[in-house]
């Protein structure tokens, strides 16, 4: 016990990661961590939410309740957002470069140059306020499933605000989890060769349990361990991506979630039906990007996504940065948000859709995004037919100096990858990249080539990083 906090017996390392953890919360944490059938935990993480952050999240929650108004989606951002940008103006290089000294209030909004993933990939430092407290910064590395693998900064209060948004969306589907010490709220499911996994408890959810889990059988003590672990902790709802949920279904893991919240890639209608029938619960599509945080959720009554948070300004733009006419498809572009390290100013998401401002029968007053063309779910197959999640491919690609890539697996298993390196015509790493991919896929043919024009061709600016001719399910 010498390494433990003498006051309440909580490991100081855990207290550092979960500053508001209570004794009861800690007991649940230990129970999950040390359970006989627990998976190999690869990481230690907490919400990093202290009193200040918790207060911030609660204020955000109140705003979510009161400020989700249609007026937030007009020809110009709301005054509150422009004022916020004015305060940031002289502190963010990118803002200074794009908006004259007079500031945002009287400047023509549509004249402001847009930004995109490439800006975050190449010049992240120009997007972070120069006086930001870097000690508070957390870095999230994106999977790169939409083009550039990114390092996205955020703060604990920024990611903490996902929780009230999840609650809001669950409530829209009639799901109201009970948050209390000793009870597990949610498991975040992954089905990958390798990923970060950890158990924790969340202060905003009143010390409820949360775990990030990889259901890959090699991560568990025995083949039945996932089943025992899920049975023991009974997560009230699950978050994950379609591939992981499909794998969970295939493994017949016994779980009775009140909802499945699916993220990362668009879910096909077929899989959605299959999951909803099998688990007898709503399957909720959640539109969120690491760079922007949650943007929308799938409406329970219509075939569209409602804008979720009240503090973002959403536009649909054409390729020249102009708003498209009402009812026309455009690139979903976000301004605002609550990430203190990455305030977004006309951030092009790379996703396309049609903004609709008409009233919705579901009762949510926020505008909708119809025909959202996000990322299609794809799956790759190893030489022996075992599924490979694109995130695993992404993990490999991320280790090389690559700005963008396109990876294709053909029906016969052969793979082709084209990459645009950070340094022009740098082919020095291609052999190592090929070897690393062979390590993941096994004995399949993998060809690697440079493509310096990727993303800059007039006819095919949109890069689809992962394509597969393999079937999503066996």
């Amino acid at each position: 016990m010498s390494n433990r906090d003498e006051l309440n017996g909580i490991d100081p390392k855990i207290l550092k990661r979960s500053p508001l953890i209570t004794k009861q919360g800690y007991e649940l944490y230990l129970k999950m961590r040390e359970h006989t059938d627990a998976p190999k935990w690869t990481y230690t993480a907490g919400d990093m939410v202290g009193k200040t952050e918790l207060k911030y999240i609660k204020i955000f929650k109140a705003g979510l309740k009161k400020k989700r108004r249609k007026e937030n989606i007009g020809d110009r951002p709301p005054l509150s957002l422009l004022k916020k940008f004015n305060l940031l103006h002289k502190r963010i290089i990118s803002f200074m470069q794009r908006v004259p000294e007079e500031g945002f209030l009287n400047f023509d909004w549509e004249k402001i140059h847009t930004m995109c993933r490439e800006d975050i990939a190449k010049y992240p430092e120009k997007l972070i306020p120069v006086d930001a407290d870097l000690e508070r910064m957390n870095i999230y590395q994106t999977a790169g499933t939409t083009g550039h693998a990114l390092m996205v900064p955020n703060a604990a209060e920024g990611t903490g605000c996902y929780l009230p948004m999840l609650d809001f969306v669950l409530a829209r589907y009639g799901v109201k989890p009970v948050y209390k010490p000793g009870r597990v709220a949610c498991f975040l499911i992954g089905a990958q060769k390798k990923t970060v996994t950890y158990p924790t408890v969340l202060s905003y959810w009143k010390q409820s349990g949360f775990a990030k889990i990889n259901i890959n059988p090699s991560e568990w003590p025995t083949s039945t361990s996932p089943h025992h672990f899920f049975t023991a902790f009974k997560p009230q709802f699950l978050t994950g991506d379609p591939i992981s949920f499909a794998e969970m279904l295939r493994m017949q893991i016994p779980v009775k979630p009140a909802a499945l919240v699916t993220t990362a890639v668009a879910m096909s209608a077929g899989l959605k039906r299959k999951l909803a029938t099998h688990y007898n619960c709503p399957v909720i599509d959640w539109y969120s990007l690491t760079e922007t945080g949650p943007i929308g959720y799938f409406c329970p009554k219509s075939d569209a996504y409602h804008i979720l948070p009240h503090d973002i300004y959403v536009e649909a733009l054409d390729s020249k940065g102009r708003k498209v006419a009402a009812g026309k498809r455009g690139e979903i572009t976000i301004s605002g948000g609550r990430n203190p390290f990455l305030p977004l100013l006309r951030y092009r998401t790379g996703d396309w859709g049609r903004l609709d401002f008409t009233a919705c029968t579901c009762g949510d007053i926020m505008p909708r995004i119809f025909e959202l063309e996000g990322r299609e779910p794809v799956i790759f197959r190893a030489f022996d037919g075992k599924p490979i999640n694109p995130i695993d491919v992404s993990r490999i690609i991320r280790a090389f100096p690559i700005v963008q890539h396109q990876f294709l697996q053909k029906k016969n298993g052969a793979c082709e990858i084209a990459v645009r390196p950070i340094i022009s015509d740098d082919s020095s790493f291609l052999a190592n990249l090929q070897a690393a991919l062979l390590g993941l896929f096994g004995a399949v043919k993998i060809s690697v080539k440079l493509d310096m024009k990727m993303g800059n061709r007039k006819k095919s600016k949109k890069i689809i990083p992962y394509k597969s001719q393999c079937l999503l399910y066996d």
Binding site: R17, Y43, T44, A45, G46, D47, M48, V49, I93, M96, Q97, P100, E101, P124, E125, K126, I128, V130, A132, L134, M137, N138, I139, Y140, Q141, T142, M151, P153, N154, A155, A156, T159, G160, Y162, L163, L166, C186, L188, G190, Y198, T200, L202, F210, K212, T239, G240, D241, S244, V261, T263, A264, W286, S288, L289, T290, P294
Partner: protein, 193 residues
């Protein structure tokens, strides 16, 4: 920018033709060759039909020892000491305001020589001077002139950002912190993206 001034190209060419003597070292204390007070006095006198209180400009010139600023003052004296301005009345006070208040911030950002050698900078300085004199280039609307000046100013800002050692140091620190933090633990997130 209420009134029309001279043609833009005319002034830009005049700036490009600035005699090299104007870029000699201005006198600041005991050093330098150009007598600032004499140049500024001649300039203001030729713009003003009635005697102008010398004290108002000799003081600021004497007080300022920033060589780049003084060079910029010389450059503007050359630019505006043109018949277009000297043949009219009413530009002395605004010109003095330009020298006293308008040029110090610019001098902190860009080297005076750049305003001769760099085409973009030449245009920027011409437009900037005209703005202080409440003029716009001949043939331009007020809106167009304002818009162009904004564009030019943003170029100056970019330049400032690029050149500022302090900003560069901070940007490097951010990059370094990001690399360090990428290897560290992040706060948990409840959903995938």
């Amino acid at each position: 920018m209420k009134k029309q001034g001279p043609q833009l190209d005319y002034l830009i060419n005049r700036l490009a033709d600035c005699p090299p003597e104007f870029m000699l070292q201005p006198k600041a204390g005991k050093n330098g060759k150009i007598d600032m007070s004499a140049v500024v006095t001649d300039f203001i006198r030729d713009l003003s039909p009635s005697p102008f209180p010398l004290i108002t400009y000799s003081n600021f010139i004497k007080a300022n020892k920033d060589i780049n600023y003084l060079k910029l003052v010389l450059l503007c004296c050359w630019l505006l000491h043109d018949e277009w301005f000297t043949s009219k009345t009413g530009y002395a006070a605004d010109s003095l305001k330009l020298l006293q208040e308008g040029l110090p911030p610019m001098a902190k950002i860009v080297k005076a020589e750049k305003f001769i050698n760099d085409a973009e900078r030449r245009e920027e300085l011409v437009r900037y001077c005209l703005m202080y004199l409440n003029l716009r280039p001949q043939g331009e609307t007020k809106a167009h002139a304002e818009d162009r000046l904004k564009t030019m100013s943003s170029v100056a800002r970019n330049k400032f950002i690029k050149d500022s050692v302090q900003v560069q140091k901070r940007l490097q620190a951010i990059r370094k912190a990001m690399a360090k933090k990428a290897a560290a633990e992040a706060a948990s997130k409840a959903t995938r993206e």
